[in-house]
Amino acid sequence: MNIVLDNVVKKFKRGKGLRKHYITACDHVSFTIEQGELFGLLGPNGAGKTTLVRCIATLLIPDEGKITIFGKDIIYQSMEARQQIGLLTSGERTLYWKLTGKDNLKFFAALYGLAGKERDKRIDYLMELLDLKDVESERVEKYSSGMKQKISLARALLHDPKILLLDEPTLGLDPQFSRFIRGFIKDELVGKGGKTVLLTTHYMDEADELCERIAFINKGKIVNIKSPAEYKDEIPHTEVLELRCQGNVNEEKLRTALSSIKSVEKVSLINKENDLALKVIASRVESILSDVIELVRGEAKILAIDVKEPTLEDVFIYLTGTSLKEDTREEQPDALE
């Protein structure tokens, strides 16, 4: 087993003085990832995905539990563990913008013990592989977001690690670059390279397309671990009712009212500036349609109604009652002042 997490707990301090309290970002998390596996962590923002990745990458020290990489404890044998890991996070600001792409890679190569011809050969290979050869001598500040992410990916691969931790690797990228990164992960890293990949995402399509097994994570807890197909088999319904509405609604009131309809099992409601996205999972959508419309019409203007096949997100809602699009962001600690 490449990565083993055993009862990992991470808490963050919030508030000061009498208001001081702790929030649990990872709550007794345990799972293992096998060699060559593409394992996904799927959950809404703030579910604890990034905290877990940071713990595995030795950037955070867990409060309880144990993490091992190829049997090496990430606390007591951190150098050996780090040598096996390549890290890629989302966001543009992870590189030296005033340096060229190549100079960025040269600096990080030194941190992984690469030097001289071996380093230059590796950088040339990665630049070629990621189609960055033409821009390697340009400063990173001139790169597009997608190109910056490609350089970050090259950095993660510099020392040819056996494990890759990819934290929301396509977040904020345009569809073309997202497609490239997804294809690269599937074909090059796992397909040809045989790498073990831990991918965190809140894009259900991404997880569905790429991952062999997915751990659903919500509020710091692992809800379930299965393959995408197994998850979809788990939901005992074939249809999900989706409504898009507009209006200033009392969310709790509407949620309670909808949940009280007979045969409704789960309701997900996301309200962004009076733009309402509603999902209702029920055993028979047809039979509840008129009741749902009547209830919603009293609160908001209905713009669209659709009946769809369940996706991974619907399974997530079914299991947790939370949508992947919700922001449950609670996992950041307070800075010391």
């Binding site: 150098m79 966001g91 992870t94 590189l95 005033k98 100079d103 013990g113 600690p333 800075a335 002042e337």
Partner: protein
């Protein structure tokens, strides 16, 4: 195995120095500023001296310091303090910069001790501060009659190296502190004023009993006394062996303390989960 680790660490230090230099050179306006800064930094001291003592020297001043040359006294203090504070600022701020650039997490996630990277940053700051101080010393020699002959260079370098080693031990601890508290400006300025008050940068600490007492615990005091003794009183380094010894002992304490403190603060930051916060 150990040799390979040392070789790898030296390569990292070299890479850090090259990276820091490239980023400096990318900011052309800053280069221009630092090129002209040494030309204007002396003017306030010149005016201050003229206003206080009416020229470049003062007889009452000699009673406290052993030299009449007030301007030379202050300029040496200014040069050495600029040297030290630019280093303190640079090293203290360096990890904050890495956080701002979003690169700190990637450095920490690599199989390298953050301390090795910090040593690279320290040396880069040291080289940069050295260039600045050489420029300032050249100006001081030509325009203010400060006598830095060839024979004085080696003893001066000995004292400066001893001072710098201790100060960078302090700066490394300070870098760890900034990693945790995410603030540099206020702390550097506070420290600056503490050093200005309790070491003979601008005035002889003997003027006040408290400053004299506290200054005995500040390495800068010993370094300034020795540097001034060599430049202004033409003393030999052999006569200053006690000062060298004190500086050496302080270096050991500060480097060991800096190392221990940095590691503890790094651990605490990782535990608190604030490493990537700016």
């Amino acid at each position: 195995m150990r040799w390979n680790r040392l070789k790898a660490d030296l390569a990292i230090i070299g890479a850090e120095i090259r990276k820091t230099a490239k980023i400096w050179f990318a900011y052309k306006i800053l280069m221009f500023f630092w090129a002209i800064f040494p030309l204007i930094w002396v003017i306030p001291y010149l005016f201050q001296g003229k206003a206080l003592v009416g020229g470049m020297s003062s007889a009452p001043f000699a009673q406290l310091t052993g030299t009449e040359n007030y301007m030379a006294f202050v300029l040496i203090g200014a040069m050495v303090s600029t040297y030290i504070f630019s280093g303190l600022w640079g090293v203290g701020n360096s990890l904050r910069e890495e956080t701002y650039w979003g690169t700190l997490e990637y450095i920490i996630a690599s199989p390298t001790s953050l301390l090795v990277v910090l040593i690279g940053k320290t040396l880069a700051e040291f080289l940069y501060a050295t260039v600045m101080v050489i420029f300032q010393a050249t100006l001081a020699t030509f325009f203010f009659g400060i006598d830095i002959t060839f024979g004085k260079i080696f003893p001066l370098m000995m004292i400066i190296v001893l001072l710098v080693i201790g100060f960078y031990g302090f700066a490394i601890a300070f870098a760890g502190f900034t990693l945790l508290i995410k603030e540099v400006h206020g702390w550097v300025h506070t420290l600056e004023w503490v050093f200005f008050l309790f070491s003979p940068i601008r005035y002889p600490v003997e003027v006040n009993a408290i400053t004299k007492l506290v200054s005995a615990f500040v390495p800068l005091t010993y370094a300034l006394v020795a540097i001034r003794a060599i430049i202004l009183l033409n003393k030999s380094v052999i006569n200053l062996w006690q000062i060298l010894l004190i500086l050496g002992v302080m270096d050991i304490i500060l480097i060991a303390g800096g190392y221990i403190l940095f590691n503890r603060l790094e651990y605490r930051t990782k535990k608190a989960g604030t490493i990537s916060q700016y």
